[in-house]
């Protein structure tokens, strides 16, 4: 089955709810090694997204994702704002004016989004950033597609890989973002951005499980 425009809308709404439910946890992670705003920023952004969404409900997937990206850009701020905005914008630009897409389209979109994050933030794997969740998730997704795994399972594997990547940030010393100012003291804490992107990919897997 393909992923419909409405599946995309449902996923965005679901993720907004996930943020609403987890913003305190995200802010708390950021309090430990950052500046205690990641949850609050994402929450402000996705509240605005929910308000904006009705204006593009009848539009194509690319337009929807780009609109989410633009909204995040003007509402989130901080490092998270441009980075999350880029994920959605590049993904939207990659998918383009489609009303439905294949899993492979999603994989390409995600790849473009992640490449955007890497370009913008100049971070690498193991710098203790969201990339540590995103890269493994993308690899797992591409592998699953290559192995012919059905959509639901493929997305699940991708989300699980993100989750592992997120956990793997704990022992790392941060080299990018605000946590890097802590040097050695950043060790032993889970990266907030890797956590919120894991939640993002988990909500994808949940909502598109039957696609």
């Amino acid at each position: 089955m393909t992923i419909q425009r409405d599946d995309v809308l449902n996923w965005v709404r679901e993720y907004a709810q996930v943020i609403e439910d987890n913003h305190e946890m995200l802010t708390e992670l950021d309090r430990e090694i950052g500046d205690a705003d990641h949850g609050a920023n994402m929450r402000r952004g996705f509240k605005a997204v929910l308000e904006k969404l009705p204006t593009v409900e009848d539009k194509d997937i690319g337009t929807i994702l780009k609109t989410v990206g633009m909204t995040l850009l003007s509402k989130v701020g901080g490092a998270g704002g441009p980075l999350y905005s880029t994920i959605f914008m590049k993904a939207g630009m990659t998918i383009g004016a489609k009303m439905e897409m294949e899993l492979s389209d999603w994989a390409q979109a995600l790849e473009a989004g992640i490449a955007g994050v890497a370009t913008l933030g100049k971070a690498q794997l193991n710098d203790k950033t969201m990339l540590d969740a995103l890269y493994p998730a993308l690899d797992a997704l591409k592998q699953a597609i290559a192995d012919g795994v059905p959509t639901g399972d493929a997305l699940k594997r991708s989300a699980e890989a993100a989750h592992q990547g997120m956990l793997a940030t704990v022992p790392l010393m941060a080299r990018k973002g605000r946590a890097s100012y802590l040097g050695e003291r950043s060790i032993g804490h889970q990266d907030p951005g890797a956590t919120s992107t894991t939640l993002l990919l988990e909500s994808v897997a949940r909502i598109w499980a039957d696609c």
Partner: protein, 333 residues
């Protein structure tokens, strides 16, 4: 959390309202996107100076908008860098045809958002240059990391480059001057207490009664080291030493010495730190020719101090002394 606020999510908007009501002679305040511009912006033929960053550092940056300093400031949420649309609108509002200089503190978020805004402004035909401030010696400088933070030097840069822009210097000259200042300025800070971000409702870090954080930033991030409390003289030494050795500042150098309160430290203590700092510098043959003492770049109600040194020449001194009329810094007018 004990604060004179209403709802945490309204703090910045209500603050802007207060600034608007108080300083209508100096600035205009715009909302959604939020930014503050000089009352007489755009000044034709003058380079426009735009800065911005999270709120919670008052008077920086909104309090530095006015004649002789910034043309616009973009306030983000508390401790969160503002968004490109604020910066873009501010840039457009102050462009007087001579281009716009973005003064950006070196934080991943600030840099990325300002970069995007600069691109958008250029796409609209405005000449934009950006200067990054990264003066915090508490952070190791390396191409593998996010680099040093921009802290106290920002205030001095905004004053001096503001005067240069007011004098009619070109965008390139202003940008070059700003980069020169960045090359000659260093800072380091410490905290006696944490601060509480309104939407978080609890202290950004927990600090026992007998300890302090050395090498903090301005966003309630913990510092590099947590050590037992020391007397003011010793703390001053712990801040001055790494600053002086980093550049390094040398015998015969003339400097502006900036002793900043992080918010909760009162003036009476700053003067004690100032006296010791002057003494330590004098012993190294470094001469303090100008100073700034007070809460200029703060972290909400955090108790603590930061010290900034800027090596100056005659030109910079002249610009430092030039008239400035803002809510947060004023002389000569």
């Amino acid at each position: 959390m004990k604060k004179l606020i209403n709802k945490p999510e309204d703090v910045v908007k209500e603050e802007l309202k207060g600034i608007e009501l108080a300083h209508a002679d100096l600035v205009k305040v715009y909302y959604d996107p939020d930014f503050i511009v000089r009352a007489d912006a755009p000044v034709q033929g003058k380079v426009g100076l735009v800065s911005g960053g999270g709120s919670g550092h008052e008077p920086m940056h909104g309090g530095f908008v006015g004649k002789g300093m910034l043309d616009a400031a973009c306030p983000g949420a508390v401790f969160t860098s503002p968004t490109p649309d604020q910066m873009l609108e501010a840039t457009k509002a102050v462009d007087g045809g001579a281009g716009v200089l973005h003064i950006v503190k070196n934080y991943t978020g600030d840099v990325m958002n300002f970069e995007m805004a600069a691109d958008m402004a250029r796409a609209e035909g405005i000449e934009v240059e950006s200067v990054i401030v990264d003066d915090d010696v508490a952070v190791e400088d390396s191409t593998w990391t996010a680099g040093r933070r921009g802290v106290g030097l920002t205030v001095l840069m905004e004053k001096i480059v503001g005067a240069a822009a007011e004098e009619g210097r070109s965008l390139k000259e202003c940008a070059d001057l700003a980069r020169k200042i960045n090359g000659q300025g260093r800072s380091m800070g410490m905290a006696l207490t944490s601060c509480t971000v309104p939407h978080v409702g609890k202290p950004s870090f927990d600090l026992p009664e007998d300890e302090m954080e050395i090498g903090i930033g301005i966003h309630g991030e913990p510092g590099r080291h947590r050590i037992p409390l020391e007397p003011a003289d010793k703390i001053t030494e712990m801040l001055i030493e790494p600053i002086v050795t980093d550049l390094p500042y040398k015998e015969g150098d003339e400097v502006v010495l900036f002793v900043n309160s992080m918010g909760g430290t009162p003036l009476i203590e700053l003067y004690i730190v100032y006296a010791k700092a002057v003494e330590l510098l004098a012993a190294k043959g470094i001469k303090v020719v100008r100073h700034l003492i007070g809460p200029y770049i703060t972290s909400l109600e955090m108790a603590g101090t930061s010290i900034t040194l800027l090596k100056v020449d005659e030109e910079m001194l002249k610009l430092w002394d030039a008239p400035v009329k803002t809510a947060g810094m004023r002389w000569g007018i």
